[in-house]
Every structure is written in structure tokens, then in C-alpha cells.
Amino acid sequence: MNAYIEQMGLIAPELVLTALSLFVLTWDLLKKGRNSDHIGYATLVGLAVTGWLLLQQWGMLGDKGTQTAFGMVTIDRFGTFFKLFTVGSMAVVTLFVMLDKNERKHGIGEYYFLLIGASIGAFFMVSTNNLLLLMLGLELLSLASYSLAGFHKGSKRSAEAALKYIVFGGLSAGVMLYGISLLYGLTGTLDLGLMGHAPEGSGAVSLATQFDASPIPVAIAVVLVLAGFAYKVSVVPFHFWTPDVYEGAPTPVTTFLAVGSKAAGFAALLRFVGALFLTDGVDASIVAYGDRIGFLLAILAAITMTLGNLSALRQGSLKRMLAYSSIAHAGYVLMGAASMTSEGFAAAMFYLAAYYCMNLGAFGFLIYFEGVTGKDDIDSLKGMGWRHPVVAWSMVVFLVALTGLPPTVGFYGKLILFYAAIDAGLAWLVIIAAINSVISLFYYFRVAKSMFLTEPVPQVPMRQHGLAGILCVLAVVTVLAGLGAFKDPLRGWADEGPASLEIYATDAGSR
């Protein structure tokens, strides 16, 4: 029992977050929904503590992950990488909520509670090798997200968004759970490590063995689980909910859905695919089997980025355009997974880190813009560049990054992704991605154009200095990271992430 309690230290960040959520909920109840600023500050402090604990943990982790709670929780560099970014993006979203004029009307502390709850879900989702805990984390994240999407109770759009979200979420959860149950039935285990590579006497049968014996049930099971992940990270054709929900949800929530929730989904997807298929050269049949899934993911990536970008072309609403842009970016990240090499996985992780940065910025700009004009259509952007130059230029930086042009982190990330894909023999995918980048140029620069090249429409400038400051910092980070600053932590971490995955996967059986 003592050893068990000692091991609890490994999930200290999660415990802190849980305590924080309970504290926030209780405090809000005691305050009866009055001024919630203090709760926001408390949330920020709690997130800072969590972030500090995670950094401590990173320092102590070796190349190999450790497990706790009877093997349910796996603490490794891969998971901690995503947890760090979840905490960071959560802090930025909390700041957005605190500074957003629209949200202040609804300003009640449950907002923070739900956000923290969602991040606890994301935390467990990225740090487990067990499908049960993965599913529970995903559900916790989803349930909190459904409520957040419908947070504007009086708004029809918000209610519709939340409803669509939960209906599709429920469907995909049902599909995914059925897939997991089939996987369990086929392999006799819920542990991804054993499922990928089950040694003699471990009491399980590896998926590859079962695939050789009965390919059709295995294919159905894996596709059903993948469909669940694909829904979470909005891969075409499981993306239909995305634009509707993103548009209807309150903008800070959209920010969280597009950044935190999606990245956590990708983390789980990478872990799933990595554990089952990234077993470099262990067994010829497994390699063939991994190549096959890689090819499938490559096709999905190509369709996703193309459809996302094409759909974004004709959008009038900036919010909806960013929703489609986030779908396109899911396609780019999927390229890394499709490479089926640890280089590709590291590239996907790095690109996700870049994605956090540029999308937080772009959505932050949207919040600022909605605060100033009360609208979200691109035509209303006219003259932003002259009236709010600092914010507008920051947005230009994010747009350049989203397009993938130097000297921003978006370019750097794409370059690494492209190299990984070429090394994996997916040159055709890289060509499609490059064409897609050109397409995306059109709609991203339509935004810049209406900000700068069009005559300003008279409007009352309402300055939001706090938001402008955050955007500025994000823009500077985007450029500096693109110039190679923070490379040591970022590239290093991203490179070490898949290493910890892989070693765990091949090591699981000998445990």
C-alpha cells in the first residue's frame, strides 16, 4: 500500500488539477456567481503549479516511461510533452475568457471548472497505454466540452452547437467503444503494448497474429477505433460537426476545442497507432501491416487537407474559416503519423506544438475582433490594420505561420513534416500538401487584405490592451520559434517523445 501511495507522486499534476477543479467549483458556489475574476486568477495559479510539476517530472523521466496505478497510467515523455502544451494552452484560454468582453456577460466560475475538468480528461487521455483509461479520459474531455459548447444558454446557435456536438460525440463514442470491445475480444487484453506485441506466456494474442488469422474482424475493429479518433481530431469524413460546433460555440471554447482538445486527440491517436503499428522491423508481417495502415492514413491526410482547404476558400465568417483551416491542419499532422517512422511522429509532435502557438494566436485575434465589432465576418475586418495595427500585424504573423511561410514556426514545422514524409516514401503526399499550402494562401491572405488594403470602415475603437498584449507575445514566439529559438527544448522534446513510445511498445511484453 505504501508503494502505491508513493507511486501517486507520478500523477501529482493530475491530482493538483483535480483539487483545483473541486476548489474552483466550491468557491464559485460560495460566491453565488458574483464577480468571478478571483476564480480566474486561482485557476491560473493552479495551472502554473501544474506546469511547474510537469517540468519537474520531465527532468526526472528517463528515455523509458514508468507505469503506476496497476499499469493503468503511463508517465512518459510523449505524454508529458502534450500535457505541458495542454496546460499552456489552457492558461491562454483562461486569460481569453477573463479578458473577453462577450464572455464577461456570462462570467461565472463554472466556466473555469469545466475547462479544468476537460484538461484532466486530456491529461489521462495522453498518459495511458490502457484503452479503458484512454476511453475514460476521452469521455471526461468530451463531456466537459459539450457543456462548454452550450455555455451561452440563451443563444440558439450555442445550443445547436452543443447538441450537434453531443449527438456526434455519442455516436463516435459508441462506435469507438464497440471497436475497443472487438479488439478486446480479439486479443484478450486492453493494454496497447501487449496488443501490439504479445510475447509468449503473457496471456494475450497480438493483433498482428490475429490479423493473419482473421483479417476482416481486425480491420473492422481497428477502423471503428480509428473512426473515433478521427472524429476527435476532425479528419474527413468524420469532420462534419467541426465547422458547425466551432461556429456556434463561444469563441474561447472554440479556441480550446481547436487547440487543446484536438491536440489531445492527436496524442491518443499517435499513441494508438504507434503502439500497434510502429514496431520497427520486429516481424515482417507486422511491418507489412503497419505500412498498410500508414497508406490508409496517408490517403485520409490527403483528403482531409484538400477538403479542409477547399471548403475554407469561400467562407464569409472568419470563425468558420478558421474551423476549416483547423481541419486542413489536421491533415498536415496526419502526414507525420502516416510516415510510420519515429521521425514522422516527432515531426507531427513538433507541428502540433507549432499549431498550438499559431491557432491560439489566430483565435485570440478573433476574440479581439468580435470584442471590437461584435461580428465575425471577414468583410467587417476592413480597416483593422489601420485602427489596431499591433493586433493586426500579430494576426499577419499567425496567418503567415498558418500558411507555412518563413520565418515562422509554421514553415519550420511543415519543413520537418515534409522531410519525414519524403523519407518515408510519401513524396506524392508532400506534393499534395504543397499544393494545399498554396490554396490556403488565398484565404489566409484574404484576411490580411481586408485588414490592410481596404479603406477603413468608421467604427468606434474599443481597445483591449490585455488581449493585444497576449497576441503580441504569441506572435513574437511564433517568429522566434521559426527562427530556431526554443529549438533545443522543442525539437529535443519532440524527438524524445516517440522514442519513449517506441521503447515502451517493444518492451511491454517482457514486463
Binding site: V167, L190, G248, Q315
Partner: protein, 109 residues
């Protein structure tokens, strides 16, 4: 009475298909949520059936209780989802006086 595993799996597959069909064809939001419950129960049945089959063969990867435990958690998840789902349906009803799925069609493009 010893029901063969194949029968259980087939029943689960039928349940799952019924859930999907219900989801696709029914208009009432509450019934749509109920269809999702059906899909979840198909998963439950598969878990339990799988667990029994592996135990009968004497092969127990990890723990033989994994399957049934997962089913318990699925029931929990289903309950939580139903709670949130019904709350959101009520919110929509207040705004639109309807529980039809089609009443949510404002956001598109």
C-alpha cells in the same frame, strides 16, 4: 445454460446495427440518444462475451476481470452522457419548443 460465444457476438452486432439504424432514421432527439445507448450496450455485451471466452480458454491477458470492469465503466459513461445530453435537449426545447433533430439546422455551410 451455455450460450455459445458466437451467438453473443452476433447479438451484439445486431444490437449495434440497430443502434446505428435508429440513429440514422429517428427524428426525436431522445430516441437518438437511446440509440446511442443501444450501441454502447452492444459494446458491453461484446466485452463480457470476450472475457468469458478468454477465461474458458484459460488465457487471461492482464486480468480476466478487464472485460466486465470495462462494461461497468461504459454504463457509467452512458449515464453521464445521458445526463448532459438530456440537459442540452431541455435547453434546446426552451429555445425552439421542439425536440426534433431537424430543429438543429441553423448552422451550415
Amino acid at each position: 445454460m451455455n450460450v455459445p460465444t458466437e451467438h453473443l457476438l452476433a447479438l451484439a452486432a445486431i444490437l449495434f446495427s440497430l443502434g446505428v439504424l435508429g440513429f440514422l432514421t429517428r427524428k426525436n432527439l431522445i430516441i437518438v440518444l437511446a440509440s446511442i445507448e443501444l450501441m454502447l450496450n452492444a459494446a458491453n455485451l461484446t466485452f463480457v462475451a470476450g472475457s468469458r471466452a478468454w477465461a474458458a480458454e484459460g488465457v487471461t491477458g492482464g486480468s480476466p476481470l478487464q472485460g466486465p470492469i470495462f462494461s461497468l465503466f461504459v454504463i457509467l459513461v452512458a449515464a453521464a452522457e445521458a445526463a448532459v445530453g438530456l440537459a442540452l435537449i431541455i435547453a434546446l426545447y426552451r429555445l425552439k419548443q421542439s425536440v426534433a433533430l431537424d430543429s438543429a439546422g441553423e448552422l451550415k455551410g
